[in-house]
């Protein structure tokens, strides 16, 4: 234990006042500088030395780690001296990363529908299970987009899994709007995510989800204005308005985010 902890024991003689009686003790010096004193229990040359410390504990030292072991005649009061351990490693008293409130900043990249997108994200995590995130990105068919997501997660040590729900707004390109599409497409996004905390600052997120177009009838219009006739069918999107909403779209996406955690 002591060797692992790189501990250095200092044996201090206390209360050595008047006693003149002496006792034999075994003093073991280790290669790492630690010094132990106690009553010899066992000495097996080329194998190990075992002593009983003043505090009552039994210590066994492998021969290879011993620099020197010898008996010494000391006053009895010294033989029952106090034992201090220096440099015992401080425990990591910092709370788990995910239990602390954070602000996050990161970059994200992924695939939405048939095309890739990338962007930046910022988040507020007042607790380990709640996050409000705002992202901005571009790519894909519809151009620049904003997304606002609320996430609820279950932290398990340095991993967190959960679900998110949010809204996003895509600017619709001119080739669509010129054919009657609305200038902004509104989406409702549902997703699952898994966070991995790397060290105490980095957070790697993997999420997958689906987007549902909220524009009533809007996507049907957009599909009519698609660049290629196969766009809608390639994405599995009906090209005729449904009777309920006038039109709908369903878009699968996945992304990876690498974020930096700021304590708040």
């Amino acid at each position: 234990m002591m060797r692992r902890a790189s501990a250095v024991c200092i044996v201090l003689a206390l209360a050595a006042s008047a006693s003149a009686r002496e006792a034999w003790v075994e003093i073991v010096e280790l290669a790492d500088g630690s010094v132990y004193q106690g009553t010899l229990v066992e000495r097996v040359p080329s194998d190990h030395v075992t002593i009983e410390l003043a505090g009552g504990g039994i210590r066994r030292f492998e021969w290879a780690e011993i620099k020197e072991a010898h008996e010494a005649r000391v006053r009895e009061s010294t033989a029952r001296s106090e034992v201090y351990v220096q440099n015992w490693p401080e425990p990591d008293r910092r709370p788990p990363v995910l239990s602390q409130p954070h602000l996050t900043a990161g970059i994200a990249a992924g695939i939405g529908g048939p095309e890739g997108y990338f962007g930046v994200t910022g988040g507020w995590e007042p607790s380990s299970w709640f996050e409000l995130e705002v992202g901005a990105g571009t790519g894909g068919t519809f151009g620049p987009a904003l997304a606002e997501t609320v996430r609820l997660g279950l932290p398990l040590f340095t991993v967190r899994v959960g679900l998110g729900v949010g809204l996003s707004q895509n600017l619709v390109g001119g080739s669509y709007t010129s054919q009657g599409a609305p200038p902004i497409a509104h989406w409702l996004n549902l997703e699952s995510f898994t966070d991995f905390v790397l060290g105490r600052r980095w957070l790697l997120r993997w999420n997958m989800g689906s987007g549902h177009l909220l524009n009533s009838g809007g996507f049907a219009v957009m599909c009519r204005g698609a660049r290629a006739p196969s766009d809608c069918t390639d994405w599995g999107i009906p090209t005729t308005p449904s009777s309920a909403g006038g039109g709908w779209a369903f878009d699968l996406y996945g992304s990876v985010r690498l974020g930096w955690l700021f304590d708040i």
Partner: protein, 134 residues
């Protein structure tokens, strides 16, 4: 087979729920302090048979290491641990045993400790705790 699966599931859940510790210690004397540990760690991760009790508080400087043969108590502000053994204690009751759960191959330790010990630089240390440490 079902029992085996249930045992594995229970072990996984126990590990997922993390370590637990309940109790408190206090000293009266040259260094008066109180430790109500909220965290414990199995010493087997660091190569010794024991548990480390402390608080998850960067401003706290108290710590007790419980071993079968004695206790190490941190002297706050001095960067030193003092060893307490049977010769120093009116009561040194340590129960330390594997609880059947392994995390990454390292056995978890559970048990309890009751102390009433005295050392010149530490003062009188009393208290008790029950723990289950991973």
């Amino acid at each position: 087979m079902a029992l085996r699966h249930l045992s594995a599931l229970a072990a996984a859940l126990a590990a997922a729920c993390g370590s637990s510790v309940a109790g408190s210690f206090q000293t009266i004397g040259p260094s008066s302090w109180r430790l109500a540990p909220d965290t414990c760690a199995s010493g087997l991760h660091r190569g010794y048979l024991g548990v480390d009790l402390y608080r998850l508080d960067p401003d706290d400087d108290t710590e007790l290491v419980i071993e079968s043969g004695g206790v190490l108590a941190r002297l706050p502000g001095r960067g030193l641990m003092v060893r307490l053994g049977t010769a120093d204690c009116r009561v040194l009751d340590v129960d330390l045993h594997p609880n059947g759960v392994k995390v990454n191959g390292v056995p978890a330790l559970a048990g309890s400790v009751t102390l009433d010990c005295e050392r010149s630089e530490l003062g009188r240390l009393t208290g008790q705790a029950r723990f289950s440490c991973y």
